[in-house]
Symmetry: C2
Amino acid sequence: MILDFIDQNKSRYEDELKAFLRIPSISTSPEHKGEVRRCAEFVSDELKRIGLQNVGIYETAGHPVVYGERLDGGAGAPTVLFYGHYDVQPVDPLNLWTNPPFEPTIKGDNIYARGSVDDKGQVWLQLKAIEAHLRTNGALPVNVKVMIEGEEEIGSPNLDKFLADHKDLLACDTVLVSDTPMFGYDQPSLCYGLRGLCYMQVEVTGPNRDLHSGFFGGAVANPINALGVMISKLKDEKGKILIDGFYDNVVAITDRERAEFAKLPYDRKAFMADLETDATPGEEGYSELERMWTRPTLDCNGIWGGFQGEGAKTVLPSKAHAKISMRLVPGQSPEEIAKKFEAFIMKIKPAGVKVNVIDLHGGMPAMTPIDSRGMTAARKAMHEVFGKEPFLTREGGSIPIVNSFSSILGAPTVLMGFGLPDQDAHSPNEKMNLNNFHRGIKCGALFFEYMKA
Amino acid sequence: MILDFIDQNKSRYEDELKAFLRIPSISTSPEHKGEVRRCAEFVSDELKRIGLQNVGIYETAGHPVVYGERLDGGAGAPTVLFYGHYDVQPVDPLNLWTNPPFEPTIKGDNIYARGSVDDKGQVWLQLKAIEAHLRTNGALPVNVKVMIEGEEEIGSPNLDKFLADHKDLLACDTVLVSDTPMFGYDQPSLCYGLRGLCYMQVEVTGPNRDLHSGFFGGAVANPINALGVMISKLKDEKGKILIDGFYDNVVAITDRERAEFAKLPYDRKAFMADLETDATPGEEGYSELERMWTRPTLDCNGIWGGFQGEGAKTVLPSKAHAKISMRLVPGQSPEEIAKKFEAFIMKIKPAGVKVNVIDLHGGMPAMTPIDSRGMTAARKAMHEVFGKEPFLTREGGSIPIVNSFSSILGAPTVLMGFGLPDQDAHSPNEKMNLNNFHRGIKCGALFFEYMKA
């Protein structure tokens, strides 16, 4: 019944989405500040119109957050917090767009506009899922809270404070986010794990000043050579990280996860051809996807020291630097790994050099258990709508807001996204597939339904 | 008799030197071109005045070379080519000079002026040695040729062509250069060996573009890590270079050389304190001086790749680069070592990266045998004038003109210099010790004498 309602309202949904997309809510652009505000009001009006309660526009130090809720499920029922963002990326280079970025245009199955997939289309489809329940049943199956922010595209600088300041208002069992791609068209997927990060900088000092490599070469520690030796000692030839205790707390991948990943249409040859490389080196005993998603890594992100210009300057440099970061997996924390990294560096430091280690940045890994209530509801919903079980995936990067939801609200996040890998989210001609937009509405509606069960 | 003559002419020598030093012959400065020319004429006039023959100012693409000769020794006698330069370094920063750089001023035992020690004072002392022979004996004991160039401070860009174009004119058995420092005051020394150079650049390419270290980390070769591993494989923990065949042709240090170096007042603690380091790592089995002077080395001179700015950019870079140079010792050639370096790099290259090796620059090592005629004459001369046997030293750097004399003229070079390590050759308040200036004249005079024997 609710799915029929959704089928009958397709053209209205598309018209409404177009109105949302016409507002140039570019959060990074000061001259669009008024448009960003107008967009927040547009969202707020819609939350009220579809029947949410306690709707408000909350000021922050930057652009406002729009909030609304409908606590039909009552005290014992689970509470879902739906998070999305109404701000969009800039549109340059404008000349590469085939239609003006804020004049949404439908061609074939796609709607083209800035923000179509990232994230207005995916915000709208969840609002339509909520609306469908309220229009057909007069109530939602569970408690639902909606928080739509206006600063995601500039790194959500004020979101953590907002979460902390409104912990009670936002209290929930599961966060639902629709802002990620599916594996492919007709290939629904759910990402349930993200890696964390420990990003360090190492400064190596040999002699107190740059020296002539002829006069001094042979009796002075060279900080670049020393750094090379230290880098080489961080991993063995089988890709295992040698930092003492590095793997102590790693949560191992399960057989079930391996089986799930093995179902994915990963193509090693295409992967290598795309990168123009002839090998995919990494930790022995794991497939590429397992290594990129479930295993910690160590990579140098930058290195510099001595003479970097044209030609041959015979300098024996005083200093060398490297940025070295480790992707972390559930069980590890950036604090733990930063300590172990520094201790190991100090242990392997060659004679004659001083080493300074700086902790530049860290982020926690995140995982939503496959059999958690949220993941189970999302899998069932996608299976029903797409006619097939969604792939279960993890991702090698971080999504900072997921960490915030975990650390501040104490809630796991379900990443049920309906984008596609080729939809040019931050580029000209951003688009959203309208079939997936409509399928997304149905998935959202069923997700709330199955959260109840 | 000749030494008495030299003693009696001290004040005239100093007055003449002052006149030479007053000419601002800054070779790097276009607006001083006329002064450089005037200085060449000043030298040419002096060569004629003291009695040299066939004196001429030879044009080059840059500043001219002044030449003169006196072939009194006849056909069977050895021929010495004295080389020096009449051009000087710039004078900035002028405000740090306590007297104007081209108004030579005597304070205590020193004469202060730009060019005083590098190299006008040392050119003049050899011309005075020649003059002393001609004034007291009417002839020189051996054939003497004098070549004074005007582009040493800009790297002698036209000297090789000049040597090649005038091979017969410049043909000689030994080249004499006075442009280096002694080990210390009252510590005469003779440098008889210089190291060569093989300077390479290594470019490592992993994926064809910079990647997100979260998405790809774990399944892609990192060119910085790969470069670190390669650098670590170039030397073992005892400082031995591991490139296949690297030491094949090295001429080993002799017991006599070790004994000579052991006489030098080298102070390890002072060496380490000056560089603010707590170790002097290098090849096992050799002292610091032996390592810096007689053993080949391998040092990274520069390294760069990936993100080098402030903060934490999570890039998995496409490329990394290093400049790696090797100091060579007699027996080795840059061509040989460049080939062996490249072959070894290709052998140790990890999977998944491409490596490109570029040969940037090379220079031959040089050695003048301790018991050669020129070295023996110089040792005897210094011993007599200083009242002690000179230290025998080698040097870790290169002096390109010495290679040119060797490769183009086929003659070894005697580096009999009278500078001191603290005479600020390229800095404000350059000075020359006048006692050494006068001792240098005597050494020069006796050198020509002992070359005959």
